[in-house]
Amino acid sequence: MAKPIVKKKYTLTERVYLIEIIKGLGLTFKHFVFNVKASFRPGPHTVPTCWQYPEDRREIAPIFRGAHMLMLDDQGRIKCVGCGMCARACPAQCITVKRGKVAEGEESKYVGKTYPEEFIVDLTRCIFCGFCEEACPKGGIVLGPEYELAQYTREECILNKEGLIANYYKAKEEGKLKPPRKPVPVAAPAKKPAAKKAAPKKAEAKGTEAKGDAKEAKAKEAEAKKAEKEQKSEG
Amino acid sequence: MGLKEDVQNTLGELALDFLECQGDLSVTVPKDKIVEVLTKLRDNLGFNFLSDVFGVDNSVFYEKLAKAKAKKKKGEEDKEEEPKGPPPPRFEVVYLLLSLETNKRLAVKIQVPEDDLVVDSVTCLWKAADWPERETFDMFGIRFKGHHNLKRLLMWDEFPAHPLRKDYPLEGQGEERILEYND
């Protein structure tokens, strides 16, 4: 157990403690003066690095991943069709969806042939990864801007359909609804597995890009349909 | 000169089986020769850095493969050996080696049957094997002969099971209830 013995070599200014300490004192004094000056500015946000929370809030990103919302379309209908893709994608298993079939005569109330009879998000389990949002084929569930999630009881942390829609209205009122995320451009599908390994060339990527987008959207829809079918067959 | 040939030449008949997957080479060696093998690899091939040691419980793996095969019938041939005669040993201990000079990696595997869970410790070669071996003992119950301090690492000492075995349920078996607190 031979530990290397380190010989300390100090320069003269280091050896005399004071010089470096005085330099440091000068530095902290600069900060002190700056902040004292800043703290006399009007308004709650005085010191630039410090937010006085309830009054003075930091701007959050439009794509912030906070509490969930169930999105409504222009006619106030729930976009969700209750396919359960989000529940399956969720790593924490915090989403419960119960699908209901739209009764006859009520078709105008709902977007599709099915609707979520029950939609429960358990925020005590949720890890805010955003996978449900990504999995949703209809853009029905979105992580909203709400980040003040502390509650007095566990029951309050479990959001049901009404709560999720209320979140939507709240975000809409505050103007914090984010635009739907654009699908990411995907590399051109390779025909042969061997070609997959070849690096996608830039020029090639350029040409196929515009089509790629449309294709992706279509593929997503197709997949959603497939999922619906699967669910049906399961049910 | 591929790495596989090098390893084959160095180990001779000690190398029982090779598996190559996406450029990663792993070699299976006899269980009781592990210290010898690793010493050879370290001294002759320059694998002088032990990255990790861990166990794998293969009990479900073979079942699944067999099922998949039965399903496919005419499916492509798998690289894994077929479970013939006596079932393959349940556990595997994997040693990840790295050569600092050539930056090549090699996985050395030993098969550990369930009725003989004792493996020679490699802490004599690399001190780095200390905790990984303890963890393997903790998680799989594989004991390492020659380890100076083989006790549970992550779970508490009185924990009765080995949680990374495949037959251990994800939710646990309620072991926390048998914890006794002495005032």
């Binding site: 300490i21 440091g24 004192l25 530095l27 902290t28 004094f29 900060h31 002190f32 902040n35 004292v36 703290s39 005085t46 010191v47 690095t49 410090c50 006085q52 | -």
Partner: protein, 345 residues
């Protein structure tokens, strides 16, 4: 009549010290915040000035918790032993020159003792008992470590501290703190204020370093080094017992700063200006008091300023600095001072 004045003085200086100790807790937090680009407590009252009151209420109303295994008597005794010397040490330090009310001359000092100097040294070193008794009584390993560290540190730094003060005594030729303060009028070498710091620069340096160690302040805050031994000797304390330790510490700081001002920074004397010549008897008394207080405040704030700038020493390094650097330096200082006095007088 005299004893009434004495009691008024005692009560006044006691509340004064306590007041500034509490304000110091606010200044510490706000000052550190300002140094660190934060805001600090600013909600209770204007600029958060009522924060110490809120803290005080909190400390008073908290449960008086005592660990099961603690030694009851020692545990209770610790904070008291710590606070009493802290409060009583100020007795001999002046807080102003004098005030004349109704023809009666009142010295702004609780007791003008002619060996006041020794009194401060003696009482100041008593504080260590509070720490070590509290640390021992808590029956906690961290507390004991903190107590032991504190003992070793205080004893080690008493020596250079005393030696630095001794050199000051050589210069002033008296143990009487009031006489020392009075002798620092006029100019030194024709252009400098006649302050001790210009006669004893090295002594002042040693005194300051030792004072930081005596007050258990960063970089010498080993007895309560948070990241190492949790909270040192007051790990197990809560409520007002902890409050006594904290207040005692700040009162200690006030005392040390006042001593430093008295010895090295001309007490209530302004440089180049003699206030007594153009001020009335009462206003002069107040002015001297205010000047003295302002000087003390500068030192108090410098304690905060240094605390939030430098890292902490290690235990053995503190000892090394004390015994191997400061004591030889202090002896050297003593020698030079003695030589110069011998040659010039």
């Amino acid at each position: 009549m005299n004893w009434v004045i004495a009691i008024i003085k005692v009560v006044f200086i006691w509340t004064w010290c306590l007041l500034w100790a509490t304000v110091m807790t606010w200044a510490e937090r706000r000052g550190s915040a300002m140094i660190q680009d934060r805001l600090g407590p600013n909600r209770a009252g204007p600029f958060g000035l009522f924060q110490p009151i809120a803290d005080g209420i909190k400390l008073f109303t908290k449960e008086e918790f005592r660990p099961k295994t603690a030694r009851k008597i020692l545990f209770n005794l610790g904070p008291i032993l710590f606070a009493i010397p802290a409060f009583s040490a100020y007795a001999v330090i002046p807080f102003g020159d004098k005030i004349v009310i109704g023809g009666k001359e009142i010295i702004l000092q609780v007791a003008d003792v002619n060996i006041g100097f020794l009194y401060v040294l003696a009482i100041g070193s008593l504080a260590v008992y509070g720490i070590v008794v509290g640390g021992w009584g808590s029956n906690n390993k961290y507390s004991i470590l903190g107590g032991l560290r504190s003992t070793a540190q205080l004893i080690s730094y008493e020596v250079p501290w005393g030696l630095a003060l001794l050199a000051a005594v050589f210069v002033y030729g008296t143990f009487d703190l009031r006489q020392i303060a009075l002798s620092q009028t006029g100019t030194f070498l024709g252009f400098l204020p006649n302050w001790g710091v210009f006669k004893q620069p090295l002594g002042f340096l040693i005194f300051t370093v030792a004072a930081y160690a005596e007050a258990n302040r960063v970089p010498f805050d080993l007895p309560e080094a948070e990241s190492e031994i949790v909270a040192g000797y007051h790990t197990e304390y809560g409520g007002m017992r902890l409050g006594l330790y904290l207040f005692g510490e700040y009162v200690n700081l006030y005392t040390l700063s006042a001593l430093c001002v008295t010895l090295y920074f001309g007490a209530w004397n302004l440089p180049y200006i003699d206030m007594s010549k153009f001020l009335g008897p009462i206003s002069y008394g107040i002015a001297s008091f205010v000047v003295f207080w302002l000087k003390v405040m500068v030192f108090l704030l410098s304690f905060i300023w240094v605390r939030w700038t430098v890292p902490r020493f290690r235990y053995d390094q503190v000892m090394k600095l004390g015994w191997k650097a400061l004591i030889p330096l202090a002896l050297f200082n003593l020698l030079i001072t003695a030589l110069v006095i011998q040659l010039t007088v």
